[in-house]
Subunit: 428 residues, 2 copies
């Protein structure tokens, strides 16, 4: 299958600098094979006319819990502890594979419609989420959530191992991570076991770290060190690690993250909505820490819209740093693309439009009132664009959405079944 | 003309509390005449089926500069002073009536498409903006920007007076405000003249106040008082006043705002993007100050999307106040509707769906993946909904957008001409 995207304005990273150029893109099977003028006789099976479109790498959502779509708008404007203990946890105990399946279909529909081509998910019944990713064509990085439940410990590790054997590398789109939930839900003994498993399988680790002030205070009380120092001392960071949140990190924490090449999945909406705090993003970026973006789950966001995360990453940090130049559009867009690929250890294959990389590409429709006039396409993406401007989405060289129409998902069915499953859980 | 909106979930404010009920709405000419079961023999000319829609009062954008759409994405990620002196002001000197006309058409298209039924604009060549409002059917509150330019002083006041004579009350949709730009661009002598004019015409005042720390520091240095105390002492607040921004206000300032019934037009995106600061919104709300929402102009936002302002008003203040319960969805939605009407002194006529009020109503399409499941419609509006979910917009009983289609604006023409005028200004 050969595909050409022509006449578009293309967002390229040239020597790490974002530039927008009028070039055409040649795709063969899953890969980008030409960028520039397409060679004569390329013989495309299909030509996409990207006139008046911005062509850019798909977004990579590096922290989410897709199935929490079930709890979207179910419990808001509540204190964190009440939210978790009275609302979310009781429902999660009643979760079924079917509910996770449909919420994953809906979640992936929402991701595709907002320009996301790959995501890192941590949850339960993840085999369902993997199934949906395989069916719908999106790229999925999956961590079975691991917590120190009585009796659950060995079982969860075994499940991770089985998921790895069964799915890692499947269709070139699935990758398994070890997913210890957090140091406050996993004992040191368990974390060491997780690390040993990750070593054995040669996989990365995804973990929540330093999300709230309370978590850090508790850690210092219990272990006499911050959560980051705590898991560092347990050897977690010897594996490639993506740490979600990192809101309350001190200079020593940042030094550890940098030295250990730990990537931070920053979730601005969730951090704001749960009143977790303002992550010191500029400080981490300046220290050389790789910061990527995530939406977190729909129960704390409450959508899965990476445009909102890009927007907030830029404007919130400007205000926090009292500096209108902080986290410019280019930096925020990189967080959502190439930095996501770096976080997942796949920046050789993904995150930018370059010959040899996988064709995970989105087309943004510039023919919108809120994007006119188009003085600066990077500003347009960061400060103006909406999920609803995503016109076409390509993953692994296959078109998953074209002219706003999902090609691999029956959206009505997904909405109907997710609502049905949610109703069953909440008893509403 | 009689219109019925039926089968919708309708957002009502009952005894100040937001509730969502399945009721029908009967509209006769410009007014809502029935809410509930429509009486037999009502004899509608048209019935709108709002099945699977949320029907709510249109948003009121209480601070914008529509024509700054010309400078959208033209100058971002810059220091405020450079932005103003090197980029914005030089272009504003070259503004033409034609440019303002087309940018106003584009701006109003953007407003309608994001559910805004009325707006308060402060700028130059405002007669063009008024013309467009009259042509397109939207509700417009207009302040000719007043600054202490040499020779310009008397002329600007005369223009305000002429605008008032010519347009105030026109078609029941235009209202003129006096628009002294700010205390740092208007001398006390000028502010007194503005106040005298507002007294003479019996109109309200719209002014920028305490937007930046610098402004407050300069005011204290020059006048030994805050900008708010300064204009209070000059008598400005004896007129109904809408003060934009009020980011850096102290307890005494808040007390003055409350006692003088000054409304605050809070502009979260602009405040964040320009690194102006975090306005003490919760404190003002608790003190009883009426806080409404604005987008500011597209050069500092960079769109005119009230959904983003509602979202930010809620989530940013939660984080600032370290309290996930701060500014709940209901409060943020009121800021965008009934509080906007209060700010403009028209809450007897607008801002809620009640018998006797003007029919300024929007329909939000709930059949979207990011709004499913619909556990809570208020949360859905505040935390999930997008401008692109606005399905139908009614102003003054007339349909300005139906099934996503603008009825009074040629969007392609507006975009083409705005881009053309912007190009002429920037020379790009």
């Amino acid at each position: 299958m050969k595909l050409i995207i022509k006449n578009g304005r293309v967002l390229l990273f040239e020597k790490d600098k974002a530039v927008v150029k009028k070039v055409d893109i040649g795709i063969e099977n899953s890969k980008i094979v030409q960028v520039g003028e397409i060679s004569e006789g390329f013989g495309a099976d299909k030509i996409i006319d990207a006139n008046n479109m911005l062509v850019m790498p798909g977004f990579i959502n590096t922290h989410t819990h897709l199935a929490m779509n079930l709890f979207r708008n179910y419990a808001d404007d509540m204190l964190l502890q009440d939210w978790l203990t009275k609302k979310i946890w009781p429902l999660e105990k009643k979760l079924t594979a079917e509910a996770v399946y449909w919420a994953s279909v809906l979640g992936i529909a929402e991701l595709i419609k907002s320009g996301v081509t790959g995501f890192l998910d941590m949850y339960f019944f993840v085999e369902e989420t993997i199934k949906v990713a395989l069916e719908t064509g999106v790229r999925a990085y999956i961590a079975r959530g691991l917590t120190d439940e009585p009796l659950g410990m060995e079982f969860q590790l075994k499940e991770t191992k089985e998921l790895y054997r069964k799915f890692d590398g499947k269709d070139g789109r699935i990758k398994i991570f070890a997913g210890p939930h957090a140091p406050y839900t996993c004992s040191p003994r368990y974390l060491k076991k997780v690390k040993a498993l990750a070593d054995e399988l040669g996989i990365g680790i995804h973990i929540h770290l330093s999300e709230t002030r309370q978590e850090v205070n508790d850690s210092i009380k219990q272990w006499r060190k911050t959560p980051i120092k705590h898991v560092y001392d347990l050897g977690i960071f010897e594996r490639p690690t993506i740490a979600a949140h990192c809101v309350h990190v001190d200079d020593d924490d940042i030094q550890i993250l940098k030295e250990c090449n730990v990537s931070v999945a920053y979730n601005p909406t969730s951090n704001l909505k749960l009143a977790s705090g303002f992550a010191p993003v500029e400080k981490m970026v300046k220290a050389g820490v790789n910061v990527s973006l995530g939406t977190d789950g729909a129960s704390s966001n409450n959508n899965l819209n990476m445009f909102e995360e890009i927007h907030l990453a830029s404007i919130v940090n400007k205000c926090v740093n009292n500096d209108a130049v902080s986290i410019p559009a280019e930096t925020a867009i990189k967080m959502a693309t190439i930095n996501g690929a770096k976080a997942l250890g796949v920046d050789g294959e993904l995150g930018s439009i370059d010959v040899g990389k996988k064709a995970d590409i989105i087309l943004i429709d510039l023919n919108k009132p809120h994007l006119c006039p188009l003085h600066n396409p990077l500003s347009a993406v960061c400060y103006c664009a909406q999920a609803s401007d995503v016109h076409t989405v390509i993953v692994d060289g296959k078109i998953l959405m074209e002219n706003y129409e999902l090609k691999t998902i029956d959206l009505e069915k997904a909405m109907y079944n997710t609502a049905r499953c949610a109703q069953k859980l909440t008893g509403a």
